[in-house]
Structure formats: structure tokens, C-alpha cells
Subunit: 301 residues, 2 copies
């Protein structure tokens, strides 16, 4: 069984992106710019945002963090986005989710100009993804998974991929990417979810299983096909008194039993997670290229 080392692939992708950023600076005098907006004081959101800004700095991407107070109005947030939409130094905009309850997140997302929607949350970009237009964006986690499959040279075409979980940020876009008529697509794809009958029987058909349901250890060894490829997107906290912080992170699969049957498997942590932020940086660079009429780096989707 081969462990798919997302930490290593993510680092490689980040290094490639950093090299590309530097070459853009030299050859075009261009610097990709990312604006990260956070509203309110959610501690986890603050950590994520700081992590993104730090990663951007590492790759020589210009980044700006906008921190709005918990009581910022909808108009405040929309006004800021309008300014960022017009700012030529900013190529990508993201608003950290979730905003406070009084903010209409959908409205926020639809105000970001699609050209700068590096999270690929805007319906226009989701639609492009769905119809196979390749000049939009791909959301970061699914894009990162496609890169993992590519870098480990895992065949997707003609195989049966089972996606477990129908979220808009992982499950649905994964089904679109894996089934696409494209170099790294062409899989037969089954989408199963909380309402699926006999879910074990469905998962057991998967040559490739993408688990994104948010249930710790849900998929066990008896539920998977021998030789399958397991992509575990779950990041669940489970209590662990022996751990320093009192908990540990586990995926949606039971690593011990599943790893005895899989041929390839992403660990949690260190699998899909590190790819997401690396793809956010790659999407920012892509946005910068597209906004300046330049060819963006190649990608496997």
C-alpha cells in the first residue's frame, strides 16, 4: 500500500507556483495578488486566514488581509469587495467562510467578480466547471485531489469512482471532474450520500473512493474493494486524552482496516489537506495570468 503524501506533493506544487510567480515578476513585471477577507472573530477562521496569508508570502504572492469586525454590516463587506474587484493589484479574492449570521454569504460570493473568484464558489464558475469550460476555476480541494491522482500516476479513465458526500465544495465538483471528458477524467462516477441505501455495497464498487462526509472512521476495511485508491477528505476531531491538545484528527475512513485493502491511500492529516492551500495559491496565479492575457501553468483537469 502506497501512502499518498499530500504534504510532499503540496510542497512541490507550492514550490512550482513560487517559481512561476518569480518568473512572472522577471518576464512580465507582474506580481499575483490575493485579498483575504475575514469578518468577525471565529478563532478557527483566523487561523486559516493567517495560514493563507503566510503561504502567499512564502511564494512571493502579494497578499492583503482585510479584517472586519463581527458587527460589520452587509454593506461594509459588499463595499470592500467592490473595491477589491476594481483593484488591479488584486487577482484573487476570498471571503473566509462562515461569516457571522447576519451576513448573506451567497450575496457576498456573487458580488466577487468571477475572474477573481479563486475559491470557485460563484455560480458562474461552478457552471463553467459543470459544462466543461476550462477557462474558469476549479475549487481548491477537488483540484488538489486531481493533482494527487496525476502525480501518483493513478488511472482514472474507465474506472469506477465512488464519491461519498454531496457537498458543494468537495463531493459535487469531484463528480464533475472525475466524469469529465478530459485527459484526467473519463471515470464512471457514483455519488452516494446520507440517503443512499446499502452504502457499503456502493462504496465497495469503487476503484477510487473519495470520502467527504465528515464522519470519523465511517468507511471501514470491509466496505472497500481490494486494491482500491482511497482519497480521504475528512478532517474530524476525536477526543484523545493521550494527545497534547486532548484530541486528534482522523479522516472519514478507518485507516487501520482500510489501509490493509487499499493500493493507495491519503492519510489524515497530511493527505488532501495540504493540497487545498497549495491550490489556492495556484488559482491565484492562474487568475493573474488570465487577467493579463497570459497562459497559466498547466493543470490536470
Amino acid at each position: 500500500m502506497t501512502i499518498i503524501d499530500g504534504k510532499s506533493v503540496g510542497a512541490t506544487l507550492a514550490a512550482e507556483t513560487g517559481d512561476f510567480v518569480r518568473s512572472l515578476g522577471t518576464s512580465q513585471n507582474l506580481k499575483p495578488g490575493l485579498a483575504v477577507v475575514i469578518v468577525g472573530n471565529d478563532p478557527a477562521s483566523r487561523i486559516y486566514v493567517n495560514h493563507k496569508v503566510k503561504k502567499a508570502a512564502e511564494l512571493a504572492i502579494h497578499s492583503v488581509k482585510h479584517e472586519l469586525p463581527e458587527n460589520a454590516s452587509q454593506a461594509d463587506v459588499l463595499g470592500l469587495i467592490e473595491v477589491l474587484n476594481q483593484d488591479p493589484a488584486i487577482h484573487g479574492i476570498l471571503v473566509q467562510s462562515p461569516p457571522p449570521a447576519h451576513i448573506d454569504e451567497r450575496r457576498i460570493i456573487e458580488t466577487i467578480t468571477p475572474e477573481k473568484d479563486v475559491d470557485c464558489f460563484h455560480p458562474y464558475n461552478v457552471g463553467k466547471l459543470a459544462i466543461g469550460d476550462t477557462d474558469g476555476f476549479v475549487p481548491c480541494t477537488p483540484a488538489g485531489i486531481m493533482v494527487l491522482l496525476q502525480r501518483y500516476d493513478i488511472t482514472v479513465a474507465g474506472r469506477h469512482a465512488v464519491v461519498v458526500g454531496r457537498s458543494n465544495i468537495v463531493g459535487r465538483p469531484m463528480t464533475l471532474l472525475l466524469s469529465r471528458k478530459s485527459r484526467y477524467g473519463n471515470a464512471t462516477v457514483t455519488l452516494c450520500h446520507s440517503r443512499t441505501a446499502d452504502i457499503a455495497d456502493v462504496i465497495r464498487q469503487g476503484d477510487i473512493v473519495v470520502a467527504a462526509i465528515g464522519k470519523p472512521g465511517f468507511i471501514t476495511g470491509d466496505m472497500v474493494k481490494p486494491g482500491c485508491v482511497i482519497i480521504d477528505v475528512g478532517i474530524n476531531r476525536v477526543d484523545d486524552p493521550t494527545a497534547k491538545r486532548g484530541y486528534r484528527l482522523v479522516g472519514d475512513t478507518d485507516f487501520e482496516s482500510v489501509s490493509q485493502k487499499a493500493s493507495y491511500m491519503t492519510p489524515v492529516p497530511g493527505g488532501v489537506g495540504p493540497m487545498t492551500i497549495a491550490m489556492l495559491m495556484a488559482n491565484t496565479v492562474r487568475a493573474c495570468c488570465l487577467q493579463n492575457g497570459l497562459a497559466p501553468p498547466d493543470h490536470p483537469f
Copy 2:
């Protein structure tokens, strides 16, 4: 085996739509308006367009046909669409596909304002469909299929639906609708296509099979599960010297053998076909309601 009579359901839906149109006239002094644009002389396209205009008239929907010559420029078409986008008497706009080769169809589609995109071809509306936003449109053929399932009281939730064919106008939106977390969705959905290995084994799992591949009689009785529901979207011409026109229309399933195993089945013609045009009218009325801040008729998706 029950034949799903699309001709009858389509007529019922059309009559309901006509009643609603008349009530809009009485209560709101509103008349839904549909603009149909055709570029060039493709004979099949002319028939379709005339059919749509005639159906609109039957339902008291205001309709306008714009016929542009084969050599109309891209700018001519875009200019017309801009005018229609602004016209308050027009709530739905469709441009008959395919346009002549020198016209960029994607550009045409993206110029139609999403509010009037009753075909649901604009990426913005496709994206809304994909993320489960119910305030956009649903493309006419998939919407019509959902109505057939509803009117025949066929359970979708928790069952395994197999969609054969990944086109943007039928296959992909069907997978989105059937798997949605909604009253008429919640199926486990498999999308298979030309690159699927062992396609018969996949189709044989379907409690509901939606065939949309454009291959006459491709699915035969041995490839389906006893008791399954068959929705045949194919409309294929096959030579038939005994027929008046020298051909007859057949679906993607072999009716004779499949009908011996299915519990419900749409015939070709007279199954899905009549629903498409009925849904186009329903979408036009929906567009009129949404543009005027009124609640549109209820729909099963």
C-alpha cells in the same frame, strides 16, 4: 408494465400553464413573453422553432420569432439579444441551436441575461442548479423528466439512478437533480458514458435508468434490472422502408426486450419529447413571475 405517457402529461402540464397564464392576465395584467431567435436555414431548426411559437400561442404566451439570415454576423445576433434583454415584454429568450459555424454559440448564450435564460444554458444558471439554488431555472428536458417521475408517483429518494450519457443538456443536469437534497431527489446516482467499462453491469444496477446517449436500441432487456423504471431520452432515426417517410424514430433502449423487464417506461416517440416543449413554456411563465416578484407555479425539483 406501465407506459409513461409523456404526451398526456405534457398536455396536462401545458393546460395548467395556460390556465396560469390566463390568471396572470386577469389578476396582474401580465402576459409572459418568449423570444425565439433562429439564425440560418437549417430545416430541422425551423420546424422546432415554429413548433415552439405555435405552442406559446396555444397557451396565450406572447411570442416573437426573430429569423436572421445564414450570413448574419455575430454582432447582429448579439445586438438582437441585447435588445431582447432590455425588452420588458420579453421574459424568456432562446436561440435555437445549432447556429451557423461562424457564430460563437457560447458567446451567444452568455449574452442572454440569466433572468431570461429559459433553456438554462447560461453557466450562471447551470451553477445555481449544481449548488442547489432553486431560484434559477432547470433545463427543459431534465425538468420534464422530473415532472414525469412526480406525476407517476415514482420514488426516487434512496434508489439507485443510473444516467447513461454525460451531455450538458440532459445527462449532467439529470445527475444533479436526481442526487439533490430535495423532495424529489435524494437518489444515489451513477453517471456512465462512452468510456465506462462493463456498461451493462452498471446499467443493470439502476432502479431508475435515464438513457441519453443517442444510440438506437443500445440498451437491451438483458442489461436492465427487473422492475426498473426506464426514461428514454433518445430520439434516433432508423431507416424503415415500410414507413411513409422512409424512417422511424426509436429511443436508446430496445423497447421490445426492455419493456418485458421494466415496471415503468417512456415510449419513443410520446415519452420525454413532449415534456421538453411543455417545460419551455413553464420556464417562460416562471421567468415572468420571477421578473415581476410573483411566486411561480410549484415544480418538482
